[in-house]
Assembly symmetry: C2
Homo-oligomer: 353 residues x 2
């Protein structure tokens, strides 16, 4: 056993990974740590050959800067925190990966936090947790009614959220889908098909998005001069849509605007069970355009929202806030698109049936 013996076996030498430090690289390259630092951080004033030599040492030793040490001295962590509700609903998750990728591109890492309910207490706890982790900004996504955030809890940290906050803080931008626009387009579409009695199956009204969609429906009805039909509240699940649809009477209603696709699926199933054909006897419009919406037994007419765009925009705004760049507006609403498929039909079809 001497220095030149190569250890055999997978775990041999599995001591602490023995990460190389700046000083190790310096020693290896025969320069000062400062010079290595300059090379690593791409600063000027290093001769090309020296730079080359240092680079080589960096690779050889597998050096990577210690994030903690760097954060300590630069006072920057390049971490952003994401607070979201812990449910595998399509909406909240759809934008998640886009969020991460946008953050990565902008040079930030994403730390995830979940809350069961976006109550003031839970949010405050999540924020404290993220603050302790040193995040430089927070995105609050999915979920959430109007947020109640004690400004003190935020300690001035930038926030981007899909819902507005009660105490408007200066470092806050709202990025959301224009829910109201989507809902109104749905109503308009049904109106154009001749529907006059249009019900609504809402999401849980503790959610800002659910309220927005309901209000958009309400406003669409009013704009069309129609008396709003009944509203039934669900919880976003197919199951709740199924239950909600059972309480809707065919005699009173010819169409339903449903606040998301999964509830719409449940509703269509329920109508079928009751002997009501979709779209022959009843038109249904969903919201989200989940990937499988087009491939249902009755392909779903729905309102598409662009989660990817929303995620990218959120990160962009947050980074601007963090880096103190000027922002244009504090509320951004992204457009929706109505996707017409087979779950809606003209009332004519109904009267003939």
């Amino acid at each position: 056993m001497n220095d030149s013996v190569v250890e055999i076996g997978s775990r041999a030498g599995a001591l602490p990974p023995a990460t190389a430090r700046l000083s190790d690289v310096a020693a290896h390259a025969g320069v000062s740590t400062k010079t290595v630092s300059r090379v690593v951080n791409n600063e000027p004033n290093v001769r090309p050959q020296v730079r080359e030599r240092v680079m080589l040492s960096v690779v050889t030793l597998g050096y990577r800067p210690n994030a903690a040490a760097r954060a300590l001295v630069t006072q920057r962590t390049h971490q952003i925190g994401l607070i979201t509700t812990a449910s595998s609903l399509y909406g909240p998750t759809a934008g998640l990966f886009s969020l991460e990728q946008a953050a990565w591109k902008a040079g930030y890492a994403l730390t995830l936090t979940t809350v069961r309910e976006p109550s003031e207490g839970e949010l405050a706890e999540a924020i404290r947790y993220l603050l302790a982790r040193g995040v430089e900004g927070v995105i609050i996504s999915g979920a959430t009614g109007v947020l109640h955030l004690a400004p003190s809890a935020l300690a001035g940290m930038p926030v981007v959220s899909t819902s507005p906050v009660s105490d408007a803080a200066p470092n806050h931008v709202v990025v959301d889908t224009d829910q109201s626009m989507g809902a109104r387009a749905a109503v308009r579409h049904l109106y154009d098909l001749g529907h006059r009695r249009i019900a609504h199956i809402a999401g849980p009204l503790s959610w800002h998005a659910a309220v927005q969609r309901r209000d958009g429906w309400l406003r669409g009805m009013k704009d069309a001069g129609l008396e709003p039909g009944p509203v039934v509240e669900g919880d976003w699940s197919a199951k709740s849509g199924h239950e909600a649809a059972f309480s809707l009477d065919r005699a009173e209603v010819t169409a339903v605007f449903v606040a998301n696709d999964h509830m719409a699926m449940g509703a269509i199933r329920a109508f079928t069970e009751k002997g009501i054909q979709v779209p022959g006897d009843m038109s249904v419009v969903g919201f989200d355009d989940v990937p499988e919406a087009a491939y249902q037994m009755v392909p779903l007419t729905t309102v598409r929202q662009d989660f990817v765009a929303g995620a990218e925009r959120s990160v962009r705004e947050l980074v601007q806030l963090i880096e103190n760049q000027p922002i244009e507006t504090t509320s951004i609403y992204l457009p929706t698109e109505l996707i017409v498929r087979d779950s809606t039909a003209s009332v004519i079809a109904l009267d003939t049936a």
Copy 2:
């Protein structure tokens, strides 16, 4: 404009929140920094009154320990990294939030990373990125065929994944659903209904899960003494299930085992378009049991997997690895459950039809 002018407007005074440090608390409470440290970390040997006084100062000054400094000195970050494929497939996302909650409970934060494809290169990059962030372990989830991880890239870091790795590292545990068991149960169920010619719509075979399910189906067929029907490969999407089903001939096949629910939905839609009734003319079994599976027009018979349990187990194993506690096994396979609904029926029904 001089120093004393207070800036007016939304961004005024958005200077660093001026977080209190340990020494500030110490000064405020009239003790040494070490004592404050003890109080903050709940260590013994501090008189109750002193502890109380320090706590008060902590609250008054809004002190929270600087994560970077703490990480630097303790050589612990309490961060774990998650590498997952960037797609909003149900599987990968379903366990995500459970993962975060389990990590939180164990005292770890979760940093998210996505790869487009689980290639060796992309994985290596993701790992370097996480390593640079100081994570203490990695969970590789969703996605992924057999992983090719250069052990050197890992630098001995603990890994838990849903897929096995090619170069088995000692610090590695596989936690996965017992895909094969699920597939065999599906075949068995179809067999018991009298089906003999059973096709398979597979997931993308670059995915380990897809291969496992196909192999399970294959083995189930063999065990039952049946000749395997055709296999068509999809990409997990409803769209691909729809396309795949079109290539299946009713004359050759009376049932299909589909590798996930969304493809199964697309397949059912396709059969319907071709005038093949489900389950009258064709039985379909899915996999996952997505929440809306029960509320399809044809409620889906499917194989349920417990993503929550998988997530919790993954975190548990990883933490054990990180904290150098003994682990029992290096491969853990969680059971599945066959959920029988309406998309499968006896072939008798078919023959009478």
